[in-house]
Structure formats: structure tokens, C-alpha cells
């Protein structure tokens, strides 16, 4: 019984994480975040390499 409850809890957590993950992904795309990331990623990031 306890095992079954644990499994149900795990399945709920998974489903919630998947739904939220997809939701966040869609919101991010609609907000134009990939473009913002591309803009940053195609130039040498001076902060990342310890210069800026």
C-alpha cells in the first residue's frame, strides 16, 4: 500500500514536471528568448572566458 502510494506520488511529480517543462518552453519561445540566447551565444562571451 505504502509502495503504491509512493509510486503514485512519483507519477504525479513526473507528470507535473513534464507539463510545467513544456509550458515553460512554450512561454519562453513566445517571449523570444531563443533569439536572445542566440544573440549572446554567437559572440565570444568575454565574461565566460574571464576577460569582461
Amino acid at each position: 500500500m505504502r509502495m503504491k502510494r509512493k509510486q503514485i506520488a512519483i507519477m504525479i511529480l513526473r507528470a507535473a514536471a513534464i507539463v510545467l517543462g513544456i509550458l515553460f518552453l512554450v512561454i519562453g519561445i513566445l517571449r523570444g528568448e531563443p533569439g536572445e540566447i542566440l544573440f549572446k551565444a554567437v559572440k565570444i562571451c568575454l565574461e565566460c572566458i574571464g576577460i569582461g
Partner: protein, 301 residues
Amino acid sequence: MSGMHRDRVKATPLKKQNRIRLLIQLAAAAVLNGYAAGFMKGKIFTGKTKLFCVPVLNCYSCPGALGSCPIGALQAVASGTGRQISFYVLGILMLFGVLLGRFLCGFLCPFGLIQDLLHKIPGRKFKIPSGIDKTGRYLKYVILVLVFLLPAVLVDGFGLGTPFFCKYFCPAGTLEGGVFHVLVNGQLRSLVGGLFWLKAAILAIIIVGAILTERPFCRYFCPLGAFYGLFNRFSLYGIRMDESRCIRCGKCETVCPMDVKITKKINTAECIRCGKCRAVCEKEAISIRFMLKTKQEKEQL
């Protein structure tokens, strides 16, 4: 059978597992950093694949990088004007986290691979005292919170923040991007100052640490490992211990690179799913599970 020969026979599954994992790690590092021309020209890739975040710590300023680093991307969006958080990156990380958990650290992360290779350098190896180790592991969660908070909260007069983790700490960026660019680009070399040397010193400490002990960056500092660790207990890909088969010999705990107390709790946030425990278990008490089913359970069904 002599004791020595018996040991050699027993070591075979572990060696096989290590070899397979190393091949996957090398392949992943090669695919994620597949822009070979970047290394020759001293430039970075500027194609559209950088719209996507890779699920591991791989600096987008690495000359070979074909995708974006999720931690860099999170901070880039948060440090810009108008947005406090990147839902896009968060969504990607959540989906990868729930699917694979820290399998990503164990099999796909190039910086994890670098630490594994460094640890193969022969010499004396150390275990961090358990008190320091246990407390130190919480540090990566603090760093994770700071990765989200600092770029969004500490902003200048124009509302622009700073990618603090990348700028002041990330040894992956220093190694994969910094060292290369500074060596090949004279213009960048002329800009090297205290900040670069600070990051180089952090990298040096991590390198020495990785030679002496297993995966110190993953254990104590990696915000991405901390994030995936939150999903490890319920990720679709996981491992399972069959208590009825376990004889408490402790071999699994001896080979575990993350010092997980496997016989007590196997699916902890620290497990990087390297599979060493499974390979050394003679009783086949440890198995891989996908969804809620192990291979044996599926066969029984």
C-alpha cells in the same frame, strides 16, 4: 581459481561498464563540440543551432560548441533588461531532468568527462572527510539559487545585470573557452587581467582537486548538477535496488565516484547514474529502471 585470477574475472563487468561510459562521454563531447573549424580558425560557431541549449555544462564560447550553455543562457536572459528568468531554458532543463536526471552528468557532460580523465592520472587519491563532504554538497544548491537570483537582482542603472557564475567562477568556461581564446587571439590576450587570473586559479584548484578526488566540481559547485539532482528521485531513467538480493557486501559503495550510500538509499540527488555499482554487484541487486519498471519486472509481466 587463484585469488588474483578471481579478482580479474570479477573486475571485467566494471571495466566493460567504464569503457562503454567513456566511449559515450567522448562521443557526446565530440558531438556537442563538433565545430572543428572553430579550433583551427580560432573563432566560435555562429549558426542557428545555438538557439538550442545543450543539457550539460558546455561553454558557448568554446570554439567547437554547436549549442548554448544552459547556465550561460539562463544568466544572459536574466541579466538583460525586462526579464527576470528564462522560461525557455528552465523548460528545457526540467524536461531533460525528468527524463534522465543526473545521467546527464555521468554520461553526457564534457566537464564531467574532463574530471574523470584527470582522476585517471596515477598518484595518491583522497576521500574528503565525510563531515566536510556532506556539508559541502549543499554549496551547489546555494550556487544554483545565486545563478537565478544575482543576474536578475543586482542590476546597474540601465537595468542590466551580470552573469555572475560565468564571470567570476565557471571553470568550464575558462577551460573550454578562455584558455583557448587567450592562447590564439593576441587581441584578447592583451585584455587579460586580474579577473582572468582569478578564474584561472579556480580552474587550477578544480583540476588539482579532480586529480586527487573524484568529481569535486560536480559534488560541490555545479549548479546544473544541483538542478538535475532535484529530479533524480523521480526521473524516468533511474536505478533500483532489490533489497531481497542485497547481501550488504558494500562493493557498490566502494566503487561509487560520488560516495552515495547505496545500500541505504540508492536514488539520491548525488547519484550520477554511472552504473559502476550495478557492474560490481554479483547478486544483481541493482538494476536500471525506466519509468517504474526494471528489466526483470518487465520480463515478469
